[in-house]
């Protein structure tokens, strides 16, 4: 896909990018493959099959889907094709409520089928709650926000909220140095809740 290389400000590129990110955030298997390639650099289908433990046909078709979406590049110069990831970031602003999606959120979503705590969160509360939880997990993982405050403001049963924070702490540890847009992720420490409903 060539829209990734078009000039900034191009509406076609922006909307296509939006659709690509939305697609990744609907399919955890594609999300997992995308961040796997991002973390590992140039990888072959053999590596994907081996490390992600998925059937070869699935690896081929998923990798092709991601190339079509413009989030993976396929290098066909050599006999064995290799894939590399295009780092993506998407800022959404809905009537003033703003959030930036980066590969870290995509990784968290991609892990959900293998992580019962994240899976349950998305099933019960939706992807938005996962994004919100990530804003708390970032200061929590750094020791900049206490576990209890983060859990209370997340407004989930306490121990369950802690489990979600711990799951996302693992995601953050794996993605912090890999996600080039990590610092653009919202950090809940900076924004105390404005209402009194956190108590």
């Amino acid at each position: 896909m060539n829209y990734m290389s078009k000039a900034a400000g191009d509406p076609e590129r922006a909307v296509n990018g939006l659709m690509s990110v939305a697609h990744l955030l609907e399919n955890p298997r594609l999300a997992r493959l995308y961040t796997f390639v991002l973390r590992n650099g140039n990888v072959t289908i053999d590596t994907i099959v081996d490390k992600l433990d998925i059937p070869r046909t699935t690896a081929y078709s998923d990798a092709s889907s991601l190339v079509e979406l413009g989030v993976l590049d396929r290098d066909e110069d050599q006999k064995t094709h290799t894939y590399s990831a295009v780092p993506i970031t998407l800022s959404a602003n809905l009537d003033g409520d703003e959030y930036t999606v980066t590969p870290t959120l995509i990784e968290a979503f991609g892990r959900s089928p293998q992580d019962q705590d994240l899976d349950l969160l998305i099933e019960r509360h939706g992807l938005g709650k996962l994004a919100a939880a990530l804003t708390y997990a970032i200061p929590y993982a750094e020791g900049e926000m206490s576990e209890r405050i983060a859990a209370r403001e997340l407004d989930l049963q306490h121990a369950y909220a802690v489990a979600v924070l711990q799951a996302l702490r693992e995601v953050i540890h794996d993605m912090k140095t890999v996600d080039p847009y990590f610092n653009e992720l919202r950090n809940a420490r900076k924004q105390p809740p404005t209402t009194e409903d956190s108590a």
Binding site: L120, S146, I149, V162, P192
Partner: protein, 175 residues
């Protein structure tokens, strides 16, 4: 495993936070058995505030904490729920106030957003020391709480009587 602990730690009272039990359950092949063995080999009992026990109850069944065998751990005797601290004791209340201030500062929140119950670990630690414990090992996955409790106790006459162990590190060490 025993050589993991120094003499002080072996003789200490171990006060343990909610997150350690959850972190054990989140590991592949959950690590409760390893935690229990660690307690038994070192003849330790993990003391938890009532608050921690309450927090562990009522999690969704399909979540990690919904499967935490805290009740069987208490029945087996390697976990015990602390008696309610005396909140009218001036040292207990001063330490709790100090922990609240510490957590508010480090988490960028107002003190009125920190609940009194958030400081239960500190209260239980002080009570244990006042009742004759030589030393406290506090295990928590909450870095803020761990640092806050140690700082508050040290500022209130318990210097060199407490240390904080990161719960994630402890799990790595015992498995």
């Amino acid at each position: 495993m025993d050589e993991l602990l120094d003499t002080v730690e072996k003789q200490a009272t171990w006060v343990v936070d909610t997150g350690l039990f959850i972190a054990c359950g989140r590991q592949q092949n959950n690590k409760y058995a390893a935690l229990e063995q660690f307690a038994e080999r070192n003849t330790l009992t993990f003391v938890i505030p009532q608050r921690v026990y309450d927090e562990l109850g009522g999690a969704p069944n399909r979540s990690t904490p919904g499967q935490t065998p805290i009740n069987s751990a208490i029945e087996s005797g390697w976990v015990t729920v602390a008696a309610k601290p005396d909140y009218t004791n001036s040292t207990v209340s001063q330490v709790m106030d100090d922990v609240r201030s510490f957590i508010a500062r480090s988490s960028n929140r107002n003190e009125d957003q920190i609940e009194k119950a958030d400081t239960a670990l500190a209260a239980v630690a002080v009570a244990a020391l006042q009742e004759g414990a030589d030393y406290i090992c506090l295990v928590t996955t909450d870095i803020d709480a761990g640092e806050g409790v140690v700082a508050a106790l040290e500022a209130n006459g318990f210097a060199n009587r407490i240390r904080y162990k990161n719960g994630f590190d402890l799990i790595d060490e015992i498995t």
